[in-house]
Amino acid sequence: MRWSSPLGAVVLVAGVLSAGAYVVAVLDVALGRLTAAGHLRLRHALRQPLDETALLLLTRPSRTERPDAQAWALAPALLGAMAAAAVATVPLGRGIAVADVADGIVLFGAAMAMVMVAVYLHGWSANSPMPLLGGYRFIALALSYEMPLALVLIAAALPAESLSVGAIVASQHDLWNVVRQPLGLPLYLIAGAGLAFWGPLDTADGPDLAGGTTAEVSGPSRVAWELARRFVLVAVAVMGAAVFLGGWQGPMLPGPAWMALKTLVLLAGLVWMAHRVARVRLERFVVVAWTVLIPLALVDVFVSGAIAL
C-alpha cells in the first residue's frame, strides 16, 4: 500500500493516533496505580480505558442552557484533525510518510497553532463560567509556549538545511539532536505538554475549575475530547521522536519499530511527568515562559546554528 494514497494515509495516521492514545491511557492508569498503591495490575490497566470509554458512550451527552452547539461539536473534531495533520508530516520509517513536505515543521506549527482555536472554542461554546475560564486560560498558556515550540524546531532545522521533517531525521544520522542540541528536547517537551494541556500544564481542564473546559461535557462528547487531546499528545511525541531522537534511524530493528520505541519513551516521560509534577500557577508560568523559555530557545537556535556552521 502506498502511504500517500488516500486509504493508506488514513489507515497509517489513524492507526498511529489510536494506538498511541490507547498506550497513553494504559500508561496513565498503570502509573497512577503505581504511584497510589505501589503496585500495578497490568490486566486492569489494559482494560480500564476500554471500559471507561464504553461507559461514556452509553452516557447521555449533556447540554447547557444556550450553548454554541455547532462550535462545541466542532472543537474536539478540530483538535483531533490537527493532531492528524501533525502526525502526517512525520516519516515513520524509511519512505513511510504521508506528507513529508518540504515545509514540514511549518505545517506542524500551523496545525498546532489551531489547537488554540479548538480549546478556546471548547471552553467558550458551553456558555458556562468554568469552561469559559478554562478556555481563556489556555490562550494565555498557548501564547506562552508557542514561541519556544517553533524556535526549537527551527533550531533542529538548521543542520538539516531544510524544514522537512524527513530531512531533519536524516541530518541526525551521525548524532541525534538530543545530544547535539541539549536544550531542544526539554523545551520541546514543556511546550508539548502545554499543547496537549497535559499534566503540570493542564490549566485549561484542571480540578480547580471542576474540570475546566470539560466541566459541562459528558458522555460521548467527553470521549471525543479526551481522545482528541491524547491524539495531540501522541502527535507531540511522534514529532519529538523524529526531530530529537533520530526518528526511524537505529541499528538492527526496522525503522518503524525504532520510531515506535522512541515515541513510547517520550509518551512514558510525559505521562510520568503528569503524575509527578504539580500543576503550574499560570500567571507565574507566563512570566517564566517569556523571560526564561523564549530566551533559552533563542540561545538554542544560536548555539545550534554555530555548531552547524
Binding site: V117, L121, N127
Partner: protein
C-alpha cells in the same frame, strides 16, 4: 503527482469556501464565530497559496492567523457589548456607503484583472520558494528585514505603553490628564510623586 483536474477542483472548492466563510463573518452575531469564520476564510486562502506552489506562505498564513484571529476574538469579546450575539444584531452598518464602496472596489479589482498585462515568467516548479525567500532576506532585502525588526520593536513598546496601565513606576495614568472624550473635571495632577 496529482492530476491537474484534482488541483482545479480543489482550487475552486477552496475559493468558494473562502468567499462563503468571508460572507459568514458578517452574517453571524457572535464575535467568536465572526473571528473564526474569518480564520476559515484565511485558511482557504492559505490552501490556495499552497496550490499555487507558494507552500511556505500558505502554511505560514494559517499558522499566524490561528493565533491572530484568536487574539482578535478575545479582544472583540472584551470590548463589544453582547459579544455572543444572544440578542440578534447586525454586523453591517452604513449600508449605502458600504454598497457603493463594495461595488467600486469589485469593479476596480475586476478591471485590473481583465485589463492588466500580467508578466508571463513561469518559475521553475522544482525550485524551493522557501530557500529563495531566505536568500532574499539575507541578500538584497536585508535592510528591509532589519527594518522590520526595529518596526516590530517599536510596535511592541508602543502596544505595551498604550495598553498596560501598570507601569514600572506605578500607575501609568497617575499625573496624566484623562482623554478628552467625556466631560470630566480634570484630576489634580502631581498630587503624589
Amino acid at each position: 503527482m496529482i492530476r491537474s483536474g484534482t488541483v482545479d477542483i480543489a482550487f475552486w472548492m477552496f475559493s468558494a469556501g473562502s468567499v462563503v466563510a468571508a460572507w459568514l463573518v458578517f452574517r453571524t452575531d457572535s464575535m467568536v464565530r465572526a473571528a473564526y469564520w474569518l480564520l476559515a476564510s484565511f485558511a482557504g486562502v492559505g490552501a490556495l497559496m499552497v496550490l499555487l506552489n507558494a507552500r511556505f506562505l500558505g502554511l505560514v498564513l494559517v499558522l499566524m492567523m490561528a493565533g491572530e484571529m484568536t487574539i482578535m476574538a478575545v479582544f472583540m469579546v472584551m470590548f463589544m457589548m453582547n459579544p455572543a450575539g444572544l440578542n440578534p444584531m447586525t454586523m453591517v452598518h452604513q449600508h449605502r456607503t458600504a454598497k457603493i464602496a463594495g461595488v467600486f472596489a469589485f469593479a476596480g479589482l475586476a478591471l485590473v484583472g481583465l485589463v492588466a498585462d500580467f508578466p508571463d515568467r513561469p518559475a521553475d516548479a522544482r525550485r524551493d520558494p522557501t530557500s529563495d525567500l531566505g536568500r532574499e532576506l539575507l541578500g538584497d532585502s536585508m535592510l528591509v528585514f532589519e527594518t522590520a525588526g526595529v518596526t516590530l520593536l517599536a510596535t511592541m513598546i508602543g502596544a505595551i505603553a498604550i495598553a498596560s496601565k501598570r507601569g514600572r513606576y506605578g500607575d501609568a495614568e497617575q499625573g496624566s490628564a484623562p482623554p478628552a472624550l467625556e466631560e470630566k473635571p480634570p484630576e489634580p495632577a502631581g498630587m503624589e510623586h
